[in-house]
């Protein structure tokens, strides 16, 4: 087993991180509600996505996908705008990218040793991240969904508590 092929985190840890980040970024927001396997199985349709890569003793990707209305609500709240207020070009990419950056940085802190964090890339659609999902958490917010995936490059590996 090499350090590069295990998950840096458990689904439970990741879910707690994502929920804490959410309430901190959006202080007066309803919290995210965790979703479990059955309801979380369906893929998101036409989501906004962002990802960062972690490079070091462990190598992999942290990817965030959000339903479009959730991405819009997130952006408006982060910018201190009323829901539905018009957003400038690029605002959604930036906000969703920053969410991935903060989640990615916190995932990196769970890893042993040093690693570097890439700048986020964001888009709609954003090509699927390559690799195998070693950890995943799904949440809902006002009937919209958010999922966070931790992926490692596809190669023989062992995972720790994949969800």
């Amino acid at each position: 087993m090499t350090a590069g092929t295990v998950s840096p985190t458990t689904g439970e840890e990741l879910a707690a991180l994502v929920e804490e980040i959410w309430v901190s970024l959006l202080s007066d927001s309803e919290p995210l509600v965790p979703m479990y396997d059955a309801e979380a199985a369906a893929p998101l349709t036409d989501p906004w996505s962002a990802q960062v890569t972690i490079d070091g003793d462990w190598h992999g990707t942290v990817r965030v996908d959000l339903d479009a209305p959730l991405a819009e609500a997130l952006t408006a709240r982060m910018l201190g705008r009323r829901p539905g207020a018009p957003l400038v070009e690029g605002a959604l990419e930036d906000a969703v990218g920053e969410l991935a950056n903060v989640i990615g940085g916190n995932v990196k802190s769970l890893l042993p040793g040093e690693g570097s964090l890439s700048l986020p890339v964001a888009g709609r659609p954003l090509p699927a991240a390559s690799g195998e999902t070693v950890c995943r958490t799904d949440h809902s917010w006002d009937e919209h969904r958010l999922s966070v995936l931790v992926l490692t490059p596809a190669e023989p590996h062992q995972t720790r508590e994949p969800r």
């Binding site: 970024l25 201190g80 930036d94 950056n101 940085g105 802190s109 700048l119």
Partner: protein
Amino acid sequence: MHALIIDDSRTMRSILSRIVADLGFAATEAGHGQEALDLMAGGLQPDVCLIDWNMPVMDGYTFVTKVRAEKRWRRITLMMVTTESSHSHVVRALAAGAHEYVIKPFTADAIAAKLRLLGLLDPSGSALDAGALA
């Protein structure tokens, strides 16, 4: 009091600008370390810089070392605000000359508490010279 917000995410710059503005600071934004250095070389005199770590062109760590190398910028307070959250990152930033370190995610009151620790807020919780300006 003037705060220079240095972060490549304009969403994050907007969040931080609103927080410091609520505390009575004037705020200027820069998208990376080099842009911030250029603003300062052009005459901007911030009392405090809020600095992201990972940015294009020039990262926040390099920015801190550059500012600390210049005598004329010695009195500027430097505070990292970054998602980099390992023990060793905090140690490195402090060793390079940063005064404080806030890890993302943060809440508005955490930023205020750090600015208070740094002596930049008066006891009522406003930026030090905010009263004088009013």
